[in-house]
Amino acid sequence: MSSKKMITLKSSDGRIFEVEEAVAQESQTIKHMIEDGYGNSVIPLPNVTGRILYKIIEFCTKHVAVEEDIKQKSVEPTVVVEDVKQKSVEPTVVEDVKQKSVELPVDDDAWDAEPSDIDEWDAQFIDVDESTMFELIVASNYLNIKRLMDLSAQAIADMMKDKTVEEIRKIFNIQNDFTPEEEMKIRNENSWAYE
């Protein structure tokens, strides 16, 4: 078994990490650097601290391993049919819409949808304090790791969901610099959003 090529990464605070090429290439930024010929020397990442780089490597390593696993088992292709099945089940359309066909009930049991293990792992991974979460989203943006960016953005969005404006300001320490008149004006402009 041929030994895998290792890539050396250096964080902003001087910590050195050696990772497999496949793992490093989860970052499009690093991938391009490798393609440009910088893969044989230490790749400096001045925008990422060692602490965050460690976590990012953990994330990429896990996901590369999961992808490998999938390839080996040749489990069903990434297209998941049950997503479509949700829609195909007759939606509760009001009587107005003519139902042209008599259909037998689509068997929902047909293809079991189990929550995937990697989703649970991801949820655990991103269950960190806000400070770390922000560092992760900024770093994953710089390193161009789509999956991690999506995960951290979703986590931050989850903190904003269904909260009042005041609550959101408090959670994120946003200073309200509107005058009461200005605030009232904006509320009226987008009144539908504030009902």
């Binding site: 292709p77 819409v97 068997d107 904006i186």
Partner: protein, 428 residues
């Protein structure tokens, strides 16, 4: 994703800094894209910096969450929704990648034409329109000039493209449900979208011949009433789910020597991996000549789900032919179609079936459901158990407990080719 609670630890010194407001614009866009449009627009009041952060949202989704309407007055609701969409579109700037309009109370009003016209001037990649009430909404010609579309999803619409329409060059995914269009429009649409990979068609009218010419098609999900399915050039098609929702009588005058539907159907599906045969589709497949095996085996097929009428000898023959032609099948699901037991019916003789001649060497999971426990069903189960040396689990779920005990007694008795096999009876 589970909703995150704000931290229960007291805020540390570090937390007093506002880290979010200074994030780059596209990161904010990304975060806001995970919120409903309503929540995203509400951020405009967080601080002066946030006033116009939402207006570059690449995805605009107008659905039930947008307007919490308590009124029952249709006119009021319509006016309110139209106002919201107009307002948002006017304030919005930058490319709109995804536009979805799906509010339960919005009927096919002409304002939609105006919004589609606006979108057609841009570079929209995804367009989803669901009209939940009222008549089929006739799509305006401008929709057909959205040449950047890669995903188009329509519910309760009528498609009549202008004569100048020459397909969507970039379209990869098409989802049409409860739609009306004519036969030639349908064929032209499919064949003029060369990159099409996913096609979903549910409950359609206006056409009944499914001529599918799509060289890149990988996923095909269809449920409706149709007369014929004809695949051509679909060598990449790997996932197919077909439900024929009507028990249409078939013309028995098929020219002698022509291949039956079964052979015809599979002749253009060399890459099929997952197949669902629903409702009456097996009956359609059983029309015409049913060979013992298909001329070309389905070597890629690893998952098969079939709805079958066990009282129909043609259907059982067709199912058997398919099974014999799928040497690499891993998971099998058999669902009985609830039919009246005919007074006289001819059952397939499975006793003569030699289980060693075509063992299912990869089949590890079998699910049987909706059966009544009659002999023809039991014979089939017996055959499966005897032919599956790698079986790990068989689950049997009858439609009712009426013959439960009898069924269980028989199941217990059947010889199993696999010593590992668990046979599990599930209460209906």
């Amino acid at each position: 994703m589970k909703q995150r609670e704000p931290p229960k630890i007291p805020f540390s010194m570090e937390m007093e800094v506002d880290k979010i407001s200074n994030l780059p614009g596209h990161i904010i866009d990304k975060i806001l894209s995970y919120l409903s449009l309503r929540d995203a627009v509400r951020t405009s009041i967080l601080s002066t910096k946030w006033r116009y952060k939402w207006i570059t949202l690449p995805h605009l989704v107008f659905d039930n969450q947008c307007a919490l309407l308590s009124s029952q007055d249709q006119i009021a609701i319509k006016n309110k929704l139209v106002n919201i969409v107009d307002h948002v579109l006017l304030l919005h700037t930058g490319p709109i990648q995804k536009f979805k309009l799906s509010h339960r109370d919005l009927q096919g009003v002409s304002d939609i034409d105006r919004w589609i016209l606006y979108l057609s001037r841009g570079t929209a990649k995804e367009f989803i329109l669901e009209i939940w009430k009222g008549h089929r909404y006739k799509l305006p010609a401008s929709l057909f000039s959205c040449q950047k579309l890669f995903h188009l999803e329509l519910f309760n619409c009528l498609l009549k493209p202008p004569p100048t329409f020459n397909g969507f060059v970039g379209l990869k995914s098409l989802d049409l449900q409860h739609i009306t269009m004519e036969q030639d429009v349908f064929e032209h649409l499919i064949s003029s979208c060369p990159l099409l990979e996913r096609l979903t068609l549910m409950n359609f009218d206006g056409f009944s011949l499914l001529n599918i010419h799509a060289p890149n098609l990988q996923f095909f999900d269809i449920g409706g009433v149709f007369d014929d399915v004809d695949f051509e050039n679909t060598y990449r098609l790997s996932i197919v789910s077909i439900g024929l929702y009507g028990n249409v009588g078939y013309d028995e005058n098929i020219p002698f020597g022509s291949p039956g539907n079964l052979i015809k159907f599979f002749s253009h599906l060399p890459s099929i991996q997952r197949l669902e045969i629903q409702s009456y589709f097996l009956k359609y497949l059983a029309v015409g000549k049913i060979p013992g095996r298909l001329p070309n085996p389905c070597i890629e097929l690893n998952f098969l789900s079939v709805r079958i009428n066990f009282y129909d000898i043609e259907e059982t023959s067709a199912a058997l032919c398919l099974l014999r032609s799928s040497p690499n099948l891993q998971e099998l699901e058999i669902l009985a179609r609830p039919e009246e037991q005919p007074i006289v019916y001819e059952a397939l003789d499975l006793q003569g079936e030699d289980p060693y001649s075509c063992p299912f060497n990869q089949l590890y999971n079998i699910k049987i459901a909706s059966i009544s426990g009659v002999k023809c069903e039991l014979d089939f189960i017996k055959f499966l158990l005897a032919s599956s040396p790698m079986l790990e689990k068989m689950t049997v779920k009858p439609s009712s407990n009426d013959r439960g005990w009898e069924l269980m007694k028989e199941l217990l008795r059947f010889r199993r080719a696999s010593v590992q096999a668990e046979v599990i009876y599930v209460d209906p």
